[in-house]
Amino acid sequence: MTPDTNQYLRSIHKALQTVILPELTDKPFAREQASMVLSSLSLLIEIQQFEPCYLRQEYKDICALLKHWAFGYCHGGSCDSWEDISGIRCEDLEFDEIQDIKATMPRLKAGLRALMDSAMPQAESVLHKMLHAYICRQLEREKSLLRKTGFIPEGETLADIGKTLAHQGAFPLLPRHSEPTPHHQPESFQ
């Protein structure tokens, strides 16, 4: 077993903190940069192992939202207009490989923006509530991911990204107040 990525990062962090940084007392710019490298390493040590899991959770959430959104259109027989507005194809919501997910996410998010700009759901509708639940979950993940940057208020007291992803994985994004029934379960909008 070779050292894993986390071990490498911890070792670099230690060398920088205990050996290199103390040597930079008379080089203020280099010292400032080294301190930021140190902070970045602390962040990486916490988050790097969760990168694939983070992407998958993002993908699961946006697919759940978009499928539910599409269902409203397709149920009314206008799947084509949903695709025209969002620019999203059915197969974009069915990927499993992490590379495919990574490549598709920006397009899905652009599609979501197009839908929000052109077809914002009515306030208090199930879809509207689901959109806001989606946003809250996204912000929750982002705060957990960046809690060690020093810019997130009370960052040290927030759940780390591992815990947040575990929680979101256990409680998937669903339409609030109206659980999908088998009749209109939006597993696919094909």
Binding site: M36, S40, P106, K109, A123, L139, L146, F151
Partner: protein, 403 residues
Amino acid sequence: MNINDKRYFSDQAIAAIRAKYPVERTVDEALTWKLQRRRGCDYRLTDMDELSVRLSRFIADQVTEPFHITALTRLPGGGSKEMFRFTLHRQAATGDSAENLILRMNPGESIAETHRLREFQVMKAMKGVVPVPDTYWVDADGAVLGNSAMVCGFVTGIAKPSKPQGKSGSVSGIGAGFPKEQREPLLAQFIAHLVAIQNFRWQIADLSAFDVPRAGTVEAASLSLNQWSRVWEEDCFEEHPVITLAAQWLTNHLPIANDICLVHNDYRNGNFLYNEDTAEITAILDWELARLGDYHEDLAWILFQGFASPDENGTPLVCGLAPRDEFIKRYEEQSGRSVDEKKLHYYTVLNLYKLAILGSATNARAAADRQTHLDVMMNLSTGLGYSALCELYQILNAEEASQ
């Protein structure tokens, strides 16, 4: 072009984005330069020998007497531009002189893409109005210095107390607090200088780089909104639903500005220097985002919770100086202006929109495209943008719930 790859905007793409978002002339110029420069090579940290040669050539174009420069040194602490200090020795007929000067230069890209001519003109106009560094010369398009840059005087003072107050203030003085005994004198000057900026008769100053929004219209707000929406489109990695919600809300609630004032646009703790012994403010800094607009834009920025620092009892103090209500009361008394809560709310949302965009998109883009000398800081400070996104969403959500 891949949606995530924004390094190589075609000429057509640049023309389309310029047409989509009408902004001030020089704002457009700075943002367009950014996109054109981004297509070129990676930015590299300025070589000090090369800079020394370029700087000498630049100064030779500005002065008539023999001169030489010494002690050219890079300064730490900048959150955006490359900053250098040097001494200019002149041999005039009236005698020799030595001046300590600052060179403030654009890297390839930074947290806020701005025009040095705007900064130069507004600082020059502010001389005698509020304490500012002396302005010397500007190389707006970077023809001689290699990058857009300006030279100004060195001012003594500190941006945050030598003994840290609380946890904040480590980056760009954001959230810096002040010792109890220094708060009152600093607050009095902080408000007095703000009022002086707002009362400044910009109509008679040389601010040719600035466009003037029409009073009695929504132009002041829409120009700013367009600017930041354009920056988002140029810099974001991917769309964010909070930015979408905010852009919709801001477009639907544009306020009328009746009184067009000079707006500093980054007036806060960390952006003024003061003498720690006398508590006298020695310079107001960072004028690069200054514009003509609505005074509520500055007020909302000052009142932003992210710049606050708690007092000994944990009460948040606006810019580390005073509780919110006290600050507003004293501002209204001194300025004679009333605070319109609706406009203040609009600019609070707009300012968070800016902060979210420059924090989450521009920072990360500069590092991704290798166009900065502060890559590590640019990545790390994306936290600022995501913090602003959370606050922005809370406000928008509360607004929607109340309707």
